[in-house]
Amino acid sequence: MIETSALSVRLGDREVLAEVDLRVRRGDWLAIIGPNGAGKSTLLKAVMGLVAHRGTVTLDGRPAAGLKPRERARLLAYAPQTPALPPDMTVFDYALLGRTPYIPYLGRESRHDRDVTASVLDRLDLTELAMRRAGELSGGERQRVVLARALAQQAPVLLLDEPTTALDLGHQQQVLELVDRLRRADGLTVVTTLHDLTVAGLYADALLLLAEGRAAASGAPAQVLTEALVGRHFDAHVKIEPGPDGRPVVHLVRGGP
């Protein structure tokens, strides 16, 4: 579904992303992990076509460079790490922005667009907040509202940049389970960056470990989440054990590194 080859991004005079090859099949969930500044967000933006890059991105067998912006937006939905929520905009209006790729340039939204938006808000427990101003939301509420916008886009690919950092335990699970269900039911392809390595290993089929703009490791969670790799690239002292379902669980060890 998504393929990149030798994807490189230069920002200022720094090579932020260097020669990253990536392959995600339809219906798969790839989690991108890596320390701060590794280039995770930049990788998502490059796939989304939001930053200038070298190398190629192929979406659904077609070169991404040849897609019109609206076509691309119907194929990829993106929730940024630090979204700009206009404080005066209502939650409903914000989520409705996700329908933009389907609404004619100067036209207005259809009943279908409104229904999709309302049902997405409902699924994320946001119906009560629908007419609130975005400026009056808590951090976690904001994050779910941004996710609602991305889901309203109804694209076959979801690119989520740190979708759960501000969420409490219950909402974290709710969001991840929702994404997982969508992926199983509708065959969505999911790419997320995640800081919680255990959570990444729990939900994703494959992990990509980025370090200093390069792919340091990739593969099944158990192959990437090893004490050696995590210790080296995160500069952290961790203990990794298999959990009840065999997926790796990452513990911090006091006193390190």
Partner: protein
Amino acid sequence: MVAQAGPSRARPLWVLAALGVLAVAMVAGLLDGAADISPWQVVLQAVDWLPFVHVDSGLAPVEQGLLFELRLPRVLVAAVVGGLLAVAGAGYQGVFRNPLADPYLLGAAAGAGLATTVAIVLLPSAAGSIPVAAFLGAVGGVFLAYTLGNTAGRAGGTATLVLAGVAVTSFLTAIQTFVQQFKVEELQRIYSWILGDVGGGWDQFWLVLPYAAVSAVLLLLHGRMLDVLSVGDEEAASLGVRAARVRFTVLLAASLATAAAVAVSGLIGFVGIVIPHVVRRLAGGSYRIVLPLSLIGGAAFLVAADLVARTVIAPAELPIGVVTMFVGAPFFVGVLRMTRRAST
């Protein structure tokens, strides 16, 4: 209480309320302290002017002529110019994602001021050249700022555009001041133009109307797109919107509106910032609300301001630009205080 969830739009109630305020302001503007005419007669007379309708207002022909030849065009010009400035202000604010952007931001006022000064100095007798000069000057000022902003920074970026506007404004204002010193005897005329005037009669009205119609319709159509722009260029792009293109179109329309308003009425400040802001506070922040209600609210505001300008020191007249600022500022503060708890 959970309101029925749905997209923001200008609710009919708000539109009707705004139109009601506009109607009251226009009747008051037509009436203008004339003791022997009643508001009801003015309303009847206004209905009589409509095509295919005939009612007897009971007004003498002289009174009818006074209303039709002097007051009516004046009220209409004030309404059109006020509406244009307010809707252009809202448009600029959407484009620059800054509620303090105003219609004169991109050098429109300075360009018009310079061109008008040059016209007055070089062709003192040709009064008809002023609107043309003002229009060309306003368009030229914006064009200069836009080109400069785009060559200096990323194409269509907002920060460099604003800075370019500031630079162009200072530069053109300096030239304008320089030029006006050559004809000190025309200073009075230059300043009276700069401070605004809507008393130019039917000619003034027909001159502004086509530009007003085109630019207002174009701006009103872009309400939803300006809402999309408010999340920033990068996220707008992720939604399939080319922000630079939307920005260019809206800038074009807002600048056309500004140039048309400036051309017929001079520089009338404050309307373009205050009215959209008041609308935002009272009715909601979506541009689908702010644009249409600013159009109507700006019209009502300037009609009222013109009424004040004509009456406070009658028989002399205050420049309308002075009134908009003098009346507008306290009014603005009042609205800010009134709605302080509701938002922020």
